[in-house]
Symmetry: C2
Subunit: 480 residues, 2 copies
């Protein structure tokens, strides 16, 4: 598939992952949906076994602690990501998994460099910024220019061609907080295509208000994309407090008629082709070993933090849930495959590599899902596009009531790394986490292990363990 | 006074400011003490006038916004601090104050440079750190050394001389959250004297867990002090999540017996003598103009943020309160002097300069206080050491009930910049702010204007306006 087509597809699909189906809820109503004490007991003795192990131990939490402490940041293609793959192989071995594989694929290397921004006038002060992933650099000495202010991405789109000649474009605009991350897609437009749209209009560089929902002095990075037909200009995100400051400064200068002058220096580098990889392992099914239930997470993280909620938590949840099933003594009929994808953050590179490497067995992937939305409690269970999957999810939803989880409307792609499988016809479903606070930390230096609640991790592990057991036992053809 | 004596005194006095008198309260009980809806109406028609202005306008909030937006960071001796003095003079003029003065004094200049720390082994990853104010630099190429771990400052004190030869000392230890900041004194020992105590035992450098109460990836800076008789070694603070990570890593290596190796590079510079200054202005009293009621705040901030809660809020509160009194039409009998101190953060330099420059009129300072504990609501009113001040505060406390403020036991020095005046015999008192969350932001890059609640600012301004009016009208000799 061409890069351009893949890009459109990814953009559209990521949007659907976060935006589909769920009504927007406030933080308060979240509390009502998922009271902390909602864990009761399942009537199913198998599930009781799984729940007892998951809810009285720290399977997932311990794994996430190990990854984030012993490895730390895991940027796609980096030494840290390579160490994480070795860690994953060793961890799978230590936990007793079989068919452990480390499947390599290439990824384009990019590293952050010097990144500074200063308001030169009228109110001199420095700004906290960071380059978006994939951004080109400014000249070594930086760019000094006046700033064109856009309150929203749409305002930039409405600006005439040529109107930004010689300027730095600043795009403001807040992201809304929702339990399902519904604010992410709209807010992310400026990150994805801000550089291209500003370059078309003549800009030298772009600054954006971070795509995030916090009010701390952390910029949020994240992959941006260029259109090969348009000049590539550097782009960086500033923290929410710095963006608030810019908004206040522009409110003053729009009265006084003064220009806002900024000095911007961004020196990230493309460092050529590097190696990434997907690490996977199995519990082999007793009756239908060729039928694969895939639960995934991604092993890579952004470079500024230890990637605890994105996606160390997911790694802990899916590895921990499979280990719970193993420890329970229950023997799944189908094979449970845990896949830890590489290079998710830079464009689902590992996900596409997996789909390609395993194209001959995709017909045997009976169900696939991913945990990649932090460490919040699960409140919903949602099916992918097939009627059989939808019927099955509706039928088994009551089995999750003991965890406070209810059936959720809408169709899911299954998670970011499941998108290529979904596209290839693999049935998907998802356990929906409370992501209300996820974008407070997402892609910032603040995404660290202390942010993870061990009780929520237990609930997640119990839910995934319940899911893979039920999926293994089901007679359903999820693809019907 | 010798530097050493001053240091002891400051340390002791700062401790007393935060630690004296108040029982420790949890965050929950704070809510009970100061319900958000506790503002009712005073029975005193003069106070009604003041309250009506203060609570229905944004006197303080607007001033703090202007300072933090138009000036930004204001490190002692810096261009930013000089711009803040010009701003203060212009703001006092614009607000209609008289006897505006900008009194210069010298301050030692110090600037932050490169500051990086990396764990080299066993788990390579970078740490978020910042130099403490006044720290010397490492060699240009940094220091690579193994780390000696101390769970607490007391553990360092108990380490034998020579036991840290060739090592970097790491001092962990958390700060407790209290409404009155009572955790600050104990937690701050490692910041104040950690470098000296580690150097005595042979250490090459020191890292500390930040003195703060948050769990975000911000290091907290703050002034440290050297003992001239002991070798000066560099010292930096790491963020709470990084300190948690160190604690986890040491828990693992203490089992495995491995050393933790760190590379530390800190290149701050002493840049010689610079100029700072105190800016002040008055509302001249109608009957006893020679008698001065001093309300202060400090104009300088640390360099990494715009100093909103420390102490842009205080600047807004005291300037705003005096302006409320001016706008009310009430004419104070005594002179109200608003003093914005310079170079507070680096050792109360402006406070001592003020006491020296005004030594001949200190006898005419009838009462002095400072707002320098953030932008939280005021819950208490507390007197200094004189019996007459104590009696007066007890008598007027009911006048503050309309703001949810009650008399508070214990003796106050009046605030950090009031310490030299208190030492010189000037009567002091204090309006006690809820500082439960103050040390989440204190001395971090996150101390920005968005953290300030406009309603709390209104309550603070109303309280200070009420205070200066009552103090102006009182027949009390506060010094008795």
């Amino acid at each position: 598939m061409t890069r351009h087509f893949k890009h459109l597809l990814i953009t559209a699909s990521i949007f659907s992952v976060f935006a589909s189906g769920c009504a927007h809820r406030s933080e308060n109503s979240t509390t009502k949906i998922m009271p902390k004490n909602s864990i009761s007991t399942s009537a199913n003795p198998d599930i009781q076994k799984l729940a007892s192990l998951a809810l009285n131990n720290s399977y997932g939490y311990d794994i996430t602690r190990s990854l984030t402490t012993e490895i730390g940041p895991r940027l796609a293609g980096s030494v840290g990501e390579a160490r994480a793959r070795d860690w994953a192989v060793e961890k799978f071995k230590a936990l007793g998994f079989t068919n452990i594989k480390n499947e390599a694929f290439p990824v384009r290397g990019w590293v952050r460099g010097v990144e500074t921004a200063e308001i030169l006038s009228p109110f001199p002060q420095s700004l906290v910024i960071t380059a978006l992933g994939g951004s080109v650099a400014t000249p070594q000495t930086g760019i000094q220019a006046s700033v064109a202010y856009f309150a929203t991405y749409d305002d930039l789109i409405n600006a005439p061609m040529g109107s930004l000649d010689g300027k730095i474009a600043y795009i403001s605009g807040r992201m809304d907080k929702h339990i399902d991350g519904a604010g992410y897609g709209p807010a992310n437009q400026k990150r994805q295509t801000g550089a291209t749209e500003a370059a078309k209009r003549g800009a030298l560089a772009v600054l954006i208000r971070s795509v995030g929902t916090d009010s701390h002095r952390f910029p949020h990075t994240g992959q941006m994309r260029y259109d090969d037909a348009v000049k590539k200009i550097p782009i960086a995100a500033m923290s929410a407090p710095d963006a608030d400051q810019m908004d206040r400064i522009f409110a003053l200068t729009q009265k006084s008629g003064k220009e806002v002058e900024i000095s911007l220096r961004l020196l990230p580098r493309d460092i050529g082709e590097l190696q990434s990889g997907n690490v996977m392992a199995e519990i082999v099914g007793t009756e239908k070993p060729e039928e694969i239930i895939l639960i995934g997470a991604h092993l890579d993280s952004w470079d500024m933090a230890t990637g605890a909620v994105d996606d160390g938590a997911g790694v802990g949840i899916v590895m921990g849930a499979a280990k719970v099933l193993m420890d329970s003594g229950l023997k799944p009929k189908r094979t449970i495959r845990v896949v830890l994808f590489g290079a998710e953050e830079v464009g689902l590179i590992g996900a596409f590599a997996y789909a390609k490497a395993h194209q001959d067995e995709l017909g045997q992937h009976v169900l696939a899902t991913e945990s990649d939305f932090g460490a919040g409690r699960i409140y919903g269970i949602q099916a992918g596009k097939y009627a059989a999957t939808q019927a099955w999810v509706a039928a088994i939803a009551p089995e999750f009531a003991y965890l406070g989880i209810k059936a959720k409307d809408g169709i899911t792609s299954g998670g970011p790394d499941i998108i290529p499988l979904n596209m290839a016809g693999v049935p998907t479903m998802r356990l929906n986490q409370d992501g209300t606070d996820y974008f407070d930390l997402h892609h910032t230096p603040d995404d660290t292990f202390d942010k993870i609640d061990p009780k929520s991790m237990q609930q997640n592990v119990a839910a995934y363990a319940t899911l893979i057991w039920l999926a293994s036992e089901a007679d359903t053809n999820f693809r019907d």
